[in-house]
Symmetry: C2
Subunit: 297 residues, 2 copies
DNA sequence: CATTTTTTATAATATCTACTTATGAATGGA
DNA sequence: TCCATTCATAAGTAGATATTATAAAAAATG
């Protein structure tokens, strides 16, 4: 069996409505932009399908039967529901509605994304955004499973079916309180880290891993005295004089600086972290497309 | 241009809903009673039509995109409206709903139809009946124009596209009050009508015309002193002693008799009136069909 | 009352749609 | 690595949906 139609053709319903309104097959055809025989055929098809006459044909006159009158409102509801469907789809396309779910590595989510999201909200006030922060691994996973449409994470590798663009170039810096002996320096030698109490993020965090591998390549070893799960905690501890911190540079940028923390580079070490925006090759959701563009503009 | 489709195919919407619910193309196909490629094609067609992805294909996994989630309720409404349409049509067919409009010559409407309509109401309590009374000519007109589906009228002639069955055989009778000299008779000679004050219906009414033509054929002439537009008025006048009435026999049948009116036949005159039930050859409205059967049973 | 005009229905036909089966490709588990 | 499962694609077919052309019937007109 093929070409079968389990329920009435909405085009026929539309024809039905139009003929009922216009009171004439010919005028309905005109109004619907089709030819008159097509209208006749649709009407007949609908009538045989429901097994009842919708119109009374007395010569050229067409009068709704009682059945026709009774079915008119139901037919109207169908057509209206269909129109609302396409309107909803168009509204999504025109960004008058919609949702995006984006994931971002915690550091980005806290220190960088807010300003973009604010801008996006200004451009498309009706679109709902859900921001999920977490580890790059977890977010990458969620992206692959289609539960996120965009993700700002550190590149693990190329992801099949996805594209990426560089979003943010970060580096790790050493932070010290203003009264610290290093406070006036621009940079210090990595070896000096062994002489001070170190405050870093917990071993699981990417921040820590970047640091660890860099120091390892340099043949150095450090003994942190504090592990934190939060850059803000690190900053506080450093300000209190508990030690020297190592954090992403974004957390001491002008607008997020706390107190008079000083930031220094580690001489000769490459501590850069690259954050990429990942997105499916065909992301298909106009709202996600728009957010992507905002993020990359 | 042909085969065009101005708005989405509801079958595709149904597929969309089912895939979203089942979470799998294959299972949706099974549940919809079609093969898997058909489902895939419907989904793709819908997606290209609205220009957005509804599902995220990560390998074999299918996850609703945000767009898909947003459009799900609208799609559901369309399918539901369609189902309600067919249900409404079926309800009409099963006589669980519906309307009939029947016309009947005044005499029939007042004295005969009520008991049939009561019976019909008992059989099909949900069906609304509208009874229109009036002259046979007017009702025939309305029937031809499709504004009535059934009509109990006196036969004018054969109506093209309509059928008829004898519904009621009536005759005109003379009525007199119980104290009248004729009260004990079964019938009287037509000539005697000239000797008494006559009360008849107005010249426009069929009752009058039947009488007139019968008397004319018999070469008689009468001079009514009262014209009424209502058999009840005639009966009252006769009872009060105002004269002798000529009415349809139905109006003095046992259950509609007022007082002790006596009815007499006119000897040698054929004063029968035949009331026919007229209906379109294909009346297409199950409710009308049912009422027709009740009337003829 | 015959003729013309208007309007709907039918016929023949072409294209597009909506299925089918057969097959390929990719994923996930053993 | 192989196998099973699942979705996508290809090719083919019956049916649906439109078209144009034409007939038939009813109203309008002279």
């Amino acid at each position: 069996m093929n070409g079968r139609r389990p329920f009435p053709n909405p085009q026929a319903l539309r024809v039905f409505l139009c003929v009922a309104q216009e009171g004439s097959v010919g005028r309905a055809a005109l109004s619907l932009g089709m030819t008159q025989p097509g209208v006749s055929q649709h009407l007949q098809a609908l009538e045989t399908q429901i097994g009842q006459a919708l119109f009374h044909r007395q010569g050229r006159r067409l009068v709704l039967t009682k059945t026709g009158q009774d079915l008119l409102p139901q037919a109207r509801r169908v057509v209206q529901a269909l129109e609302e469907f396409v309107q909803a789809a168009q509204a999504l396309e025109r960004l008058e509605r919609g949702r995006v779910e984006i994931g971002a590595a915690t550091t980005m989510a806290v220190y960088v994304l807010p300003r973009y999201l604010t801008e996006f909200k200004r451009l498309y006030p009706e679109i709902r955004i859900k921001l999920e922060s977490g580890s790059s691994e977890r977010l990458t996973q969620r992206l692959l499973q289609g539960e996120l449409e965009l993700a700002v994470v550190e590149a693990v590798e190329h992801l099949e079916g996805f594209e990426r663009q560089l979003f943010y170039e970060d580096e790790l810096v050493v932070i010290v309180p203003p009264e610290h002996p290093w406070a006036r320096k621009e940079e210090i030698a990595p070896e000096q880290l062994a002489e001070v109490p170190l405050i870093v993020r917990e071993p699981g965090a990417m921040t820590f891993r970047v640091l660890g591998s860099a120091l390892e390549q340099a043949g150095l070893e450090v003994n942190p005295i504090f592990y934190t799960d939060n850059h803000e905690v690190t900053k506080r501890l450093v300000l209190e004089g508990a030690g020297v911190g190592i954090v992403s540079s974004v957390v001491v940028r002008p607008n997020v600086r706390v107190g008079n923390l000083r930031a220094l580079r580690l001489k000769g070490l490459e501590l850069r972290r690259l954050f990429w925006l990942f997105y499916p090759k065909e992301l298909g959701n106009p709202a996600a497309e728009a957010l992507k563009n905002t993020l990359l503009s």
